[in-house]
Every structure is written in structure tokens, then in C-alpha cells.
Amino acid sequence: MSTDVLDLKEEKKSEALFSKKNRQLLSNPLDSDNPVTVQILGICSALAVTVQMKPAIYMAFGLTFVTAFSNLFISMIRNSIPSRIRIIVQLAVVSLWVILVDELLRAYAFDVSKQLSVFVGLIITNCIVMGRLEAYAMANKPWPSFLDGVGNGLGYSAILLILATVRELFGQGSIMKGTPLEVHPFEAMNLPFTGNGVLMMPAGACILIGLLIWAQRARNGYREEA
């Protein structure tokens, strides 16, 4: 993953819009400020949609899109939002984007929409979206807010993909099932394979997330503040 971050930085150096601070908005959520493993947000959907990689990828796109544009929009109108009703205003904006995504999928990507079914709607209640609106977009300009949304969406996507890869590979013995890239590594290598039932269930994902958080904190030297 670290190479991805480097690529991003190099590619965007020439653009003034991507100052060092703005670049960090994109890169920090991938590791040191990851929404799932550090901020512990969006756990529920990370458990629900990571049985296979295909729905996880769609969910990742959906959430990144919604977080980015909700952040952008809320930030644009942040000075006019009355603080007493700010949460419901945020919710309305998030719902608007989510429903738009859902309707578009239904019209132009019906198979995807069928597969995601309720999960698209659940983006509305995803803590990452609301969390970023409240913590960042309400107090920052539109462009950095947009980047913050994209960054957090990508951070969430990264965790989702890691979980989905492990769960699909050891739970079902395949990778990218249901896409043109589908492979069955165990079959291909002629290894005996029995699916791991725990990984197919949300409990398995919960244990995996725990291991991920542990590994990441051990690496980054995280200390709980007293």
C-alpha cells in the first residue's frame, strides 16, 4: 500500500491544489488515521460486505463517492447551516447522495444494484460519512474537505479489500468471484481445500479486523491516551 501513496504524491506534485497538507488529507487515512482501524468507524459495514471481493469493491466505490461529495457539499454550505439542526442537515445531504447513487445503479447497473441491495442504503448510516462531515467538513473549505472525503473513503476501501480478500480466499477458495478476474488459487495449485466457515460469518470478519488493528498499532507504536 505504501507504494500507492508514493505514487499519488509524485503524480500530483506539479499541481498547486495538492499542497503538502492536502496530500496528507489523502494519505493519512490510508494508515495513521485510518477510519476503520484507527478511528474505529464503519465497522458494521466492514463486517457485512466483505464476504466476497466483488460487493466489497462496489461498496468501497459507493462510500468513497458519497463521503467525498457529501463533504464537498456540506463544506460549501457550512456557514449557512444553523448549528442546532446541523446533524439533520448533514443527514439530508448524505441521504440525497446515497439515493442518487442507488437510483443510478438501478437504472444502469442493475446486476450490481441487486447484489448490493440493502448495503447501498446503509451507506447513509455509515459512521465514516457522518464522522467526517462533523469532524472535518463543517470547519474546513470545500477542496480540502473533498480530499478528506476521498482519503477516508480510500482508507475504508483498503481495509474492506484486505478483509474481503482473506475471507473469500480462505472461506470459499476463490478470488474476485463473479468477475472476469475470477481465480481459484487452491484448485489451480491442486491443493486440497475446505472452506473456513467462521470466515464466512461476520464473527470471522470481526476477529480479522481485530488482528489488523493489532498489527497496525504494533507497527506504528500506538499508545492509548490515558
Binding site: V51, Q52, P55, S80, I81, P82, S83, R84, I85, V89, A92, V93, S95, L96, I99, L100, E103, L104, R106, A107, Y108, F110, K114, S117, V118, G171, Q172, K177, G178, G195, G197, M200, M201
Partner: protein, 243 residues
Amino acid sequence: MQRSNLYILIYTIVLTVVCGVVLAVTKQLLAPAQKMQIELDRKKNILLTFMELKESDDPLKIYSSRVKEYVINFEGEKVEGNAGDINVEKQSKKPKKERLLPVYEISSINDSSKTEFYVIQTWGKGLWDVISSFVSVRSDGNTINGVVFNHKAETPGLGARIKDDPNVYKRYKGKTIFEGDQLVSVEMKKGEGKDYSDKPHEIDGMSGATLTGKGVNAMLLEYTECYQKFLLKRREMYKMAAH
């Protein structure tokens, strides 16, 4: 910054109206495309009960050349109506005898006057949410040719295998609905890995998804009952033709 109540009130109204208008306009604009997708999906599912669809195939064209739709009642008689307009979910809430049932009659690819399959439509409850299926029955009115399941929320990798795993839904092929004139339907058993090839009314189960299997069994039994008279009539016709 503290705002006046009036400001908040106006803000709320404007926000609601703007969101409402945006959503209403989107829905209106996308409605035709969405309707087409649902229609296409239904037709594809019907075709998939008796044939494989390749990327290059045009499902709508095949459908219009081979499928004849009509509606029947519990007695197996044709009634007025359009099969595509029947809401199977709504019908499933009525008593069996009052339901309207869609039938899709598939003509033979070589001889369009000959019927090869009858596709019936079912609706039931899985473990988490609704499940549904299209079942193609051969012209003998008894032998299942293929089943296409759909589900809303069965567990991926477990119950969802009814839709995703060809090894599961292909188990129905060749099984029979009637024993003599007695309706028995086809039952998915508990546990997985046994050989049921000599049992005409039983198929191997899905390990870890017994409850979805039970839902499927209940659904198939319910709907073979609904279509019983229709199918029995087809059997008679088939036997007569054979003589």
C-alpha cells in the same frame, strides 16, 4: 453562531424542498431505464432456466421468438391478463385458490408450434428475506429442467449459493414433481455430499444453509401445489400425444 428560529424554519423548508425536487426529478428521469432493467432481468431469468446465455446473445430477441406468456388460475385455466404485470409477491399473500399465476410457455427451437418447457414462477421466504425462483418444467408437466433462484439477503457463500453456485441449482435438473398422480415436489435435504441421483424427489443439501434450504423446499411445495392442476393437464396432453 446562534440563528433565529425563523431562519432555522426557512432553512429546513428550503432544504427539504430542494432535496425533494432533486430526487423526484431523478426518479422521473430514470424510471423508464429502471423499468427496462427490471423487465430485462425477468426475461433473462426465464431464459436461464432452460438455456445458457452467451455475451453475444440478445435475450430480448430470443425471448420474443420463443416465449409465450399467459396467466392462469388455480384450476389451471387461462385467464385475462399479462404475465409480466402479475405481482407474484402480492399474489402470494392471497389464499392459493385465488391466486393468479403467470406461465411462460417455451416453444421448441426447431419447431415453434411445439412446446418444450413451461416456466412457472415462485415466491417464498428464505432465512433472512424473500426468495423467488423461475422453474422450467419439461412438456411432460413433471420433470424439472432447470431452476433460477433469486434472493434478497441470504448469507453469501452459504444460503446465497442457491443463486450463485451452479452445483446447487443444477441439482434440480431431471427431478420430478409428481409420483404417479400424487404431488410430492422436490426436497433439498439437510447435509451435503450424499448421492441422491436415484431419488427423483430429493436433492443434496447445502452445508451451513439448512434454513435457506427449508425455505426453498416450502416455496417449491407451495407453488407446485398452486400449479398442480395446470401441470397435471399438461401431463395428460403429453400422454395423449405420445399415444
